[in-house]
C-alpha cells in the first residue's frame, strides 16, 4: 500500500513537471485568443525560446539572463505574428504555422552553426540552469506518514519555473477578470467594434495581448531547456504547444479550467510512462500510445459539442476592419 502511495505521489509529481510548459503556453494562448488572435504558434515560440535559453545558458552560464533572452526571442516571434495578423490582416492560422515551421528549421540550423553538435546545445550543469528547490525540512518530515511524502515528493523539489507557471494561472485569472485591461482584452476578442466605438485602439490591445503570449511562451521554452532539461534537443517541444492549445480549448479559454485540463493532460502523460505494457483485467494490455492520444481525442469530442459546449471568443480569427 505504502509503495502504491509513493508511486501515486511520484506520478503527481511528474504530472506537475510535465504540465508546467503546458500551463504557461495555455495561459499564453488565452491572452492571445481572448483578444481575438488565433495562436497555433505556441509550439514554435516555445521551441525557439528553448533554444535561445539553452544557448545563452551554455555560453554565459547565467540562467536568469537565458530566461530573459528566451522571452525576448519569443516576443519577437509574437511581433511577427502581430505584424502579419493585426497590421496586415493576414490569415492567423497561416502565420502561426509559418512560425512553427520556421522555428523548427531555424533552431537546428542555428544550433549546428553555433555549437556543431547536430542541433543540440551543450549539456548544462549545476548553476547553468534552474535547479530544483528543496523546500525547508523536506527530508526531515519525509517519514511522517501520509503528509510527509506529499510535502517531500510533490511539493518540494521543483524548480522556480514550476512555481512561476502556477503563479501565471493566478495572475492570468486576476488580470482577465479583475482589471480594466482584462475587461478590454476580453471585449476586443468578443466584439472589437464595441471597443473601437468606446475610443480604445483595437490594434494596440491586440498587440499587447500577443506580446504577453510571447512572454509566457518564452518562459515555457526556457523551462524545457534550462530547468526541466539540461540543454536543447532538436524538436524538444514535441507537440507540447499543440497539447497546450488543446488544453486551452478544453478549458474553454478560461485560466482555471485550462489549468485543470493541463494537469489532466499532464497526468495522462505521466501515467502513460508508467503503465506501458501493463496487463489490466478486462482492458488487456495498456497502450501508452493511445493514452497519449487522449488529449486530442477529448478535445475533438469537446469541440464537437458532445461534452460541454465550447464557446470560443466570438471575434476570433477575424481581422478587424472598420465597416465601410
Amino acid at each position: 500500500m505504502a509503495e502504491f502511495w509513493l508511486q501515486f505521489l511520484l506520478t503527481i509529481d511528474a504530472t506537475l513537471r510535465v504540465a508546467t510548459p503546458l500551463i504557461l503556453c495555455a495561459m499564453a494562448g488565452i491572452f492571445s485568443e481572448r483578444s481575438g488572435i488565433i495562436d497555433i504558434s505556441l509550439e514554435g515560440k516555445m521551441l525557439m525560446s528553448a533554444f535561445a535559453a539553452a544557448s545563452v545558458a551554455a555560453v554565459t552560464g547565467q540562467p536568469w539572463l537565458a530566461l530573459l533572452v528566451a522571452i525576448g526571442v519569443s516576443v519577437f516571434l509574437s511581433l511577427i505574428h502581430g505584424f502579419a495578423c493585426i497590421t496586415h490582416r493576414g490569415n492567423q492560422v497561416v502565420s502561426g504555422l509559418a512560425i512553427n515551421i520556421l522555428a523548427s528549421g531555424l533552431t537546428v540550423t542555428l544550433g549546428i552553426a553555433f555549437f556543431a553538435q547536430g542541433g543540440q546545445t551543450p549539456f548544462l550543469k549545476g548553476d547553468q540552469r534552474f535547479s530544483p528547490i528543496t523546500l525547508p525540512f523536506a527530508d526531515a518530515i519525509r517519514d511522517i506518514p501520509f503528509l510527509g511524502p506529499i510535502y517531500a515528493e510533490v511539493i518540494s523539489g521543483h524548480n522556480i519555473i514550476v512555481w512561476i507557471a502556477l503563479l501565471a494561472v493566478v495572475v492570468t485569472s486576476l488580470v482577465m477578470m479583475r482589471t480594466r485591461f482584462g475587461l478590454r482584452l476580453r471585449a476586443v476578442g468578443e466584439k472589437p467594434e464595441a471597443v473601437d466605438t468606446a475610443g480604445i485602439s483595437v490594434v494596440l490591445m491586440r498587440y499587447q495581448a500577443v506580446i504577453i503570449a510571447g512572454v509566457l511562451c518564452g518562459i515555457a521554452g526556457a523551462y524545457l531547456s534550462i530547468a526541466h532539461g539540461a540543454g536543447f534537443v532538436r524538436e524538444m517541444t514535441a507537440g507540447k504547444g499543440y497539447i497546450a492549445l488543446a488544453a486551452m480549448i478544453f478549458g474553454n479559454w478560461r485560466p482555471l479550467q485550462a489549468l485543470y485540463a493541463c494537469l489532466m493532460f499532464g497526468f495522462l502523460d505521466a501515467v502513460a510512462a508508467r503503465v506501458q505494457g501493463l496487463e489490466l483485467p478486462l482492458i488487456g494490455e495498456v497502450s501508452s500510445d493511445l493514452i497519449l492520444a487522449l488529449p486530442y481525442v477529448l478535445t475533438v469530442i469537446f469541440l464537437a459539442g458532445f461534452i460541454g459546449r465550447a464557446t470560443p471568443p466570438a471575434a476570433i480569427g477575424a481581422p478587424y476592419v472598420k465597416e465601410r
Binding site: H88, Q92, V93, T109, V297, L303
Partner: protein
C-alpha cells in the same frame, strides 16, 4: 485583393516578390551563420538537378508535394483550411499497409497495386471527411480538428507499428516487407526495360499518378459542376444557398476530396519506395503542401511548379549536409517557414507599394478596367 493592378502583376509579379522576400531573409540568415548564401544556392541547385540521379530524387520529392499541395488547394477553393495533410497521408499509408500485409500472400501483386491506389485515397478521404462533417454539422472548426486528427493519426501509427504490426524479432517500429513485386515501378526500371540507362533514384510511377491527379483537380475545379459549386460556396455561401446548394454537403465532400489527395501521398513513399509501412514517412510533407498551395495560388499548374521548387529545395538541401559543416537540410524547413509567412500571412504586404509604383509609372487609374 487589388483590382487596380493588371493581371500579370497580380499573378506574376506579386507572388515572385513574396518568394523573393523569403529567399532574401533566408540569405541573410545564412550570411549571419557565416556562410555565403550564393555558394549555398549553387550547391543546392547542383544537388537538385546536376548530379547523377539528382533530378530523379528532386522529382521524387516533387511527387509528395504535388499530392499534399493539391489537397490543401482543393480545400482552399471552398475556403476551408485543411492542415490535416499529415494525418490524412498517414492514414493513406496505413490503408495500403493493412491491405497489402493482409492479402499479399494470396492476391497477385498487380491486383494489389491496383487496389492500393483507391484504398490510400479512401482512407485519406475518411480522415478528411470526419473533420469536414464536424465543421458542417457540429460547428467545430476544421483547422483545430485537423490539427488534432494529425496527432491522433500519429498515435494510431505508433500504437500499431510498435505493437500489432511490428515485425517479429525487430526493434524498429515498422512492418515486415511487402511481398516481392508489390510496389510501384521505379522510373529507372521502366527506362531500363526500354533500353535507356537512367541513374537509380526513388522516382516511381506515383509521379505520373500525381500529374494525373493534378490534371484531375484542374478538371474538377474548373470543368465540373461540383467544382463550380465548390468555388461558388467558397466565394459566397449566400450565393450558393440562393443557387440551391447546401454548403454543409459541399464542406464534407470537399474535405473528403482534399483528404483523399493527401492520402495518395502514401503511394509514393510506401508503395513506391519503402515497400513496408514505417513510422513518420510523412516527414512534415503535409505541412509543406500548405506552402506549395499558397505559392501555387491554388492552381494545379502553379502547384506543380511550386512542388518542383520544394522538391529541389529538399533534394538540394540534402546536398548541403555533405558540402557544409554548418548548413543542413533543416535550412530548407526554415525557408519553407519563411515562404509560408511571406506568401501566406503577409501576402498583401507588397500590394500597396507595388500599386503606388505602378501608378507612378503608368499613370493614375489607367490600370483599372
Amino acid at each position: 485583393m487589388s483590382t487596380t493592378l493588371p493581371r500579370w502583376i497580380d499573378i506574376g509579379v506579386l507572388p515572385l516578390l513574396n518568394i523573393l522576400a523569403a529567399f532574401i531573409v533566408s540569405g541573410i540568415i545564412i550570411a549571419i551563420i557565416g556562410e555565403n548564401p550564393f555558394t549555398a544556392l549553387g550547391v543546392m541547385l547542383k544537388g537538385a538537378f546536376v548530379y547523377k540521379g539528382a533530378l530523379g530524387y528532386t522529382l521524387f520529392y516533387t511527387t509528395n508535394f504535388i499530392f499534399t499541395g493539391l489537397a490543401v488547394a482543393v480545400a482552399f477553393h471552398a475556403t476551408l483550411f485543411n492542415i490535416g495533410g499529415e494525418g490524412q497521408a498517414m492514414m493513406g499509408g496505413l490503408g495500403i499497409g493493412l491491405l497489402v500485409l493482409a492479402l499479399d500472400a494470396v492476391v497477385p501483386a498487380f491486383l494489389l497495386i491496383m487496389l492500393a491506389i483507391p484504398v490510400s485515397a479512401l482512407m485519406g478521404a475518411a480522415w478528411g471527411a470526419v473533420p469536414g462533417y464536424l465543421q458542417a454539422k457540429r460547428g467545430s472548426h476544421v483547422v483545430i480538428t485537423t490539427i488534432m486528427f494529425n496527432f491522433i493519426a500519429s498515435s494510431i501509427m505508433v500504437w500499431l507499428l510498435a505493437g500489432t504490426l511490428m515485425e517479429q524479432g525487430q526493434m524498429a517500429p515498422e512492418t515486415r516487407d511487402f511481398a516481392e513485386g508489390v510496389g510501384l515501378f521505379k522510373f529507372h526500371e521502366i527506362a531500363g526495360m526500354m533500353g535507356i540507362k537512367v541513374a537509380r533514384s526513388p522516382l516511381n510511377l506515383s509521379f505520373v499518378i500525381a500529374l494525373i491527379a493534378a490534371f484531375g483537380v484542374w478538371v474538377l475545379i474548373w470543368r465540373t459542376r461540383l467544382g463550380y459549386v465548390i468555388r461558388a460556396t467558397g466565394h459566397s455561401e449566400k450565393a450558393a444557398v440562393y443557387a440551391g446548394h447546401s454548403p454543409q454537403r459541399i464542406i464534407i465532400i470537399t474535405m473528403a476530396i482534399s483528404g483523399g489527395l493527401a492520402g495518395m501521398m502514401a503511394l509514393n513513399e510506401i508503395l513506391g519506395v519503402q515497400h513496408k509501412l514505417i513510422l513518420d514517412f510523412t516527414s512534415g510533407f503535409g505541412f509543406t503542401g500548405i506552402a506549395v498551395a499558397l505559392m501555387g495560388r491554388n492552381h494545379p499548374v502553379g502547384i506543380i511548379f511550386a512542388s518542383l521548387l520544394f522538391g529541389a529545395l529538399y533534394q538540394g538541401g540534402a546536398e548541403l549536409d555533405f558540402e557544409f559543416q554548418t548548413i543542413t537540410r533543416e535550412m530548407v524547413l526554415m525557408i519553407q517557414g519563411l515562404i509560408i509567412l511571406f506568401s501566406g500571412a503577409l501576402v498583401y504586404m507588397f500590394n500597396p507599394m507595388v500599386e503606388r509604383l505602378y501608378h507612378r509609372i503608368v499613370g493614375p487609374e489607367k490600370g483599372a478596367a
